[in-house]
């Protein structure tokens, strides 16, 4: 079996690594350290860890102040709270002045450990994609999380990092080099293009295997950076097959599916389908029944691909 890693564990480890290398790196936490794994930084460097209480709006304001005097704050809470509870604070004192704050959306998407619709985050990508000055990153696996965090520290400006909770296979090899704004081709193909973001790209790869079993050759593009978007890579991937399925553990409105539809609509119109939450909130349950009910499995991605292929052939 492939090696598995939890994005949140890699996040905690990398935070310790970054703080050890760079004295400007600090972390602010909204009383979720044992979930988001910022407790690793608390144990390694208690003086660089600030528990801000269950008070997200204040926390983001504090981070802005820290960034303005030269620190690099990582602000950590669940994606639902980062993208909604503290949104005006992020907008006014972080995004508008372009301050160097890194904000984390832990437990993103619908796989949040059964906490249900209040804690699932299905619109954070839409929110941050629409917000000027904010870079948005959704890694596929632990390897990419670590690289993205290093890139975030090198980059001067607000960055949103969307993470997941549970262990998943490692996809990216040792030679992989994450770059902000660059999409990566994970598989060449000629019949249909599957474009994924975050962990959902893994289900695109699984879908490509399902399709291959039926003699269909799928091109798989991973888009870890939702903004700035790699328009060229998306257009090339669409041109390679002429049909596109997007997939994300997020609403189809305004996230990856929305972004790709906007780009292709203007630059290279092709028939497409979007896999994601269809304008609905989620609910409490374990991962497998959630993926099934909300249509996010590899099988759903493959079925959408087949529908497009059938339409083309008629």
């Amino acid at each position: 079996m492939a090696q598995e890693l939890s994005q949140r564990v890699v996040f905690g480890e990398t935070l310790v690594e970054l703080a050890s290398q760079d004295s400007r790196v600090v972390c602010l936490d909204g009383d979720l350290a044992t979930s988001t794994r910022t407790d690793m930084l608390f144990k390694a460097h208690p003086d660089r860890f600030f528990m801000m209480g269950i008070a997200e709006q204040n926390m983001f304001g504090v981070a802005a102040g820290m960034a303005s005097v030269g620190l690099i704050p990582f602000v950590s809470t669940f994606a639902c709270f980062t993208a909604k509870r503290a949104l005006d604070q992020i907008r006014i004192v972080i995004a508008q002045p372009g301050l160097n704050v890194k904000f984390i959306g832990a437990y993103s998407g619908i796989l949040t450990g059964k906490t249900g619709k209040t804690h699932q985050s299905v619109e954070d990508l839409t929110v941050f994609r629409a917000m000027p000055n904010v870079v948005s990153i959704a890694p596929i696996d632990g390897v990419e999380v670590r690289q993205a965090m290093h890139a975030m520290v090198e980059y001067d400006g607000p960055v949103y990092l969307r993470l997941t909770r549970d262990p998943m296979p490692v996809i990216m090899g040792d030679s992989y080099q994450f770059q902000i704004g660059k999409a990566v081709t994970l598989r060449e193909g000629k019949d249909i293009t599957l474009i994924g973001t975050g962990e959902q790209t893994q289900r695109c790869l699984d879908a490509a295997n399902l399709l291959a079993a039926d003699g269909i050759s799928a091109f798989v593009l991973h888009v870890p950076t939702l903004k700035p978007l790699d328009v060229e890579a998306i257009v090339n991937a669409a041109a390679a097959t002429g049909l596109v399925v997007t997939a994300e553990d997020h609403s189809i409105l305004g996230g990856l599916g929305g972004a790709v539809a906007e780009v292709l609509g203007e630059e290279y119109p092709v028939p497409m389908k979007r896999i994601g939450l269809r304008d609905t909130f989620g609910e409490s349950a374990s991962n497998a029944p959630l993926l099934e009910k909300y249509g996010l499995t590899a099988r759903h991605v493959a079925a959408a691909a087949k529908t497009l292929l059938e339409k083309r052939s008629t």
């Binding site: 936490d29 008070a55 204040n58 249900g116 619709k117 209040t118």
Partner: protein, 281 residues
Amino acid sequence: MNDPSIPGIPQLIEIARSVRIDIVQAIHHAKGGHFGGPLSAVELLVALYFRELNIDPVHPQWEDRDRFILSKGHSAIALYAVLAERGYFPVEELMTFDAIDSRMQGHPDMKQTPGVDMSSGSLGQGLSAGIGMALGARVLGKSFRTYVMIGDGESQEGQIWEAAFIASRYQLDNLVAILDYNKVQQFGWQYPEPLLPIDHPEEKFAAFGWHVIEIDGHDFNAILNAFDQAKMVKGKPTIIIAHTVKGKGVSFAEGKYQWHAKVPNDEELTLALAELVRREG
């Protein structure tokens, strides 16, 4: 209420025991949910639903019912267990907690569960909704009362204090907040020594213009007296600061932040049930 079937204190104690057993079993079965926060709130919830609230389990949407909001929504399983024991739905349904398509969601959902008056789960929001209900009662000329339970960690949210200000500004004597003061949050401040989620809440709420009552939140006599006293207060909202123990009733979880959202394994379930079933004295 002059129903001869009103439960006395010994019965309330037995109901609380059943509710704790329901909670522990449901969490174990669901392999999810929160542990410490539901258990600290049991006596308060049982006193509300079996003695204080003017409600009708057969008509959960009755317009003139008293309202209750569990603002610390992560303790939902405690509310569900009390509602089930009170007859809103079968106790067996608690075993669907956190499962797909269940009415027993991880956090309270007013559109799913009979008896739930307001959705919650993102901390800090319930007291504001309670103000809305209390103002609504005033505008509509209704006499129902509104009760809101908040957590001590939750009280770090600014919105709690925005609400505290508005409730006293509007002199909402038909609004009662209950602070489940169990002294532990999810992780909190553990270094160099543990700190309380909130210090001197009695002073803070008094400064915001609230009538403050401080009690032992596991003592039914004290809880019922506090509810009676709150009804006598005119011109200000009341907060009952209930000193409780997080994880109450399960000795190995009591007072431990590590049990905030831990799921008991089979062995821990057996130990917990043995303690809960055993009768004191």
